[in-house]
């Protein structure tokens, strides 16, 4: 599905702020995989997602999605195949537009001059009902009036309305309260399983990283230090993961958010 071949990215090359965010990074994600990614701040997790989405051109290497080379494809064209959720729930929806208008933009239905029809409105209502947040009765409310959790759930719905080839979740529950975070996470799991979307999720919660998905990557310093799946992963607990990290990088994981999470 996603094949990343030897990509590198250095920010501010040749200055004192030089930072190699990705070093000769390669990864192959199989169709239907749900990969969780952990690693301390600055490990290159978000840079990896940005490279896949096309926020910048990588210094070298190439990226293939579904067998197609997308290395030079502009960001907005990649977005047709890649859905992405950010930590900030405000980023994924337009606040001054109504819920149904936001959903209509995400649905990809109709031509440039078509408007929301009854059929689509009913489809949106059914989808919103799945969220179990009462949003199906507020389709004409502006999205800016919703809470962060509701907005993130809506963003999730929008990103997966037309099932993308790849879904990137960048700590998408980190800014929500524990209850709402659980709910959004459960929804994520349901939608991803139902539509069989290939998915990559960055998280700072080690338990979550082991509970969800079928493969876990640990990143440090722009590379992968640990890549586990299958039986090896099934028997692992958080302490094992910490030990493996220490062995992998030669230093302890010094990030409170990860340890406490």
């Amino acid at each position: 599905m996603l094949r990343i071949e030897h990509i590198s990215k250095t920010f501010n090359p040749g200055t004192v702020n030089e930072k190699a965010a990705l070093r000769d990074f390669s990864l192959h994600v199989k169709p239907g995989d749900f990969v969780t990614i952990i690693g301390s701040n600055g490990a290159g997790k978000s840079t990896l997602f940005n490279a896949v989405c096309g926020s910048f051109l990588t210094d070298q290497g190439r990226i293939l999605l579904g067998g197609k080379d997308i290395t030079f494809m502009p960001e907005h064209r990649r977005s047709k195949q890649i859905g992405r959720l950010f930590q900030d729930p405000m980023r994924g929806t337009a606040p001054n537009m109504t819920i149904e208008e936001n959903l209509y933009l995400a649905s990809g239905q109709g031509g440039s001059f078509s408007r929301i029809r009854k059929k689509e409105r009913e489809m949106f209502r059914d989808r919103l009902a799945l969220l179990d947040m009462g949003l199906e009765n507020r389709m004409n409310s502006k999205v800016g009036l919703l809470s962060g959790g509701q907005r993130q759930a809506l963003t999730l719905l929008m990103a997966t309305m037309v099932p993308p080839q790849l879904l990137l979740l960048d700590e998408h529950t980190a800014a929500l309260d524990p209850g709402t975070a659980d709910k959004v996470l459960r929804l994520t799991k349901e939608i991803v399983e139902q539509s069989q979307i290939t998915c990559m999720m960055v998280t700072h919660n080690m338990q979550q990283a082991l509970d969800l998905g079928n493969r876990t990557l640990m990143m440090a310093d722009g590379g992968i230090v640990l890549d586990i799946e299958g039986e090896e992963r099934a028997g692992l607990c958080v302490d094992d993961l910490l030990t493996r990290f220490r062995v992998g990088t030669g230093k302890a994981l010094d990030n409170d958010r990860i340890l406490l999470g």
């Binding site: 926020s55 907005h76 977005s79 337009a94 995400a106 990809g108 001059f113 078509s114």
Partner: protein, 309 residues
């Protein structure tokens, strides 16, 4: 004071208000929806007036309207390409185009800075001839302006609900979201500014033909006047859907002209128009801000706010 002495200026205020409402609707699209402060509005307005006047002088009163709008599209296109494809800051792009258009407009007017349309057939004289001997004969200017405003309001309220219109609104509303969605923000800015340019130029074309003269300064300060009208419209009908808000900005434009007419009654000299519009824009933008700061300011400087240590 006779009835006509009052009604005359009021009717003029409605005519001017409606004609300029087109520019306000253009800003409604570019400023309120696309969130681009398009400072090329003055030049674009003048260009519409110049092209409209030149084409009417050449003997094509009806053709003057689409010609002016096509010129407006070009102006909008250049402003949009400067800011989306060539990396020019959006405010600067407007100023640059505005400056350049001054020369272009004089060239369109054949090297002179004033065109006289007194004896020229225009859309207005055509309609006037049509309405002769009907009760509406005296209101021909109002009627023409009203028809164009209605068409543009209907167009905008339809267009802003289509997929394309929603994409344009989204581009102004949440650039972050657009960047990670499949909408091409550059394309949306270009389309939005082309449409708003066309409407601005239409407004200029109609004003020149209604006044029967075209002066190179016809559009000076138009962006501030339109912005004032837009903000007035926003305070009276700013909460509804896109159609309600579009009607609100038209009302805003008329109210602005009415207030101005009343001020003239109290012997305010005509040249004060632009100062008044500037003050209105400042008040409309700063009042909501000051209101939000009221508590802070009162407690800091108000009674008992300061305790001596």
């Amino acid at each position: 004071m006779t009835a006509s002495a009052i009604l005359g200026p009021v009717q003029t205020a409605f005519e001017l208000g409606l004609i300029c409402a087109l520019t306000v609707l253009a800003l409604y699209l570019s400023y309120s929806m696309l969130n681009v402060c398009d400072l090329s509005t003055d030049g674009c307005f003048t260009m519409g007036a110049a092209v409209g006047a030149a084409v009417a002088l050449a003997g094509h009163p009806y053709l003057s309207i689409p010609a002016a709008m096509a010129a407006g599209v070009c102006s909008g296109l250049i402003t949009a390409v400067l800011q989306t494809k060539l990396g020019v800051n959006s405010l600067l792009a407007g100023i640059i185009v505005n400056t350049g258009l001054y020369s272009v407009n004089i060239a369109i007017m054949g090297g002179s800075s004033l065109l006289n349309l007194n004896k020229t057939e225009t859309v207005f004289t055509k309609v006037k001839a049509l309405l002769e001997n009907t009760p509406l004969a005296g209101q021909y200017k109002l009627l023409v302006a009203l028809v164009f405003v209605a068409i543009v309001v209907l167009f905008l309220s339809f267009f802003l609900r289509t997929r394309l219109g929603l994409s344009i609104r989204c581009t102004g509303d949440n650039p972050d979201m657009v960047r990670s969605s499949s909408i091409n923000p550059a394309r949306m800015t270009i389309i939005g500014l082309c449409i708003s340019g066309a409407i601005t130029a239409l407004s200029g074309c109609l004003l020149a033909q209604a006044q029967k003269s075209m002066d190179i300064n016809i559009g000076t300060g138009m962006v501030t006047i339109a912005l004032a009208s837009l903000l007035i419209g926003g305070t009276i009908l700013g909460k509804g859907g896109v159609t309600v808000r579009a009607i609100g900005v038209v009302l805003g434009s008329i109210i602005f002209r009415l207030v101005y007419t009343i001020a003239l009654r109290f012997n305010m000299p005509a040249f004060m128009l632009k100062a008044v519009s500037s003050v209105i824009v400042v008040l409309a933008i700063s009042l909501p801000y000051l209101k939000s700061q009221k508590d802070t300011l009162l407690r800091r400087f108000g009674k008992g706010g300061r305790t001596k240590c």
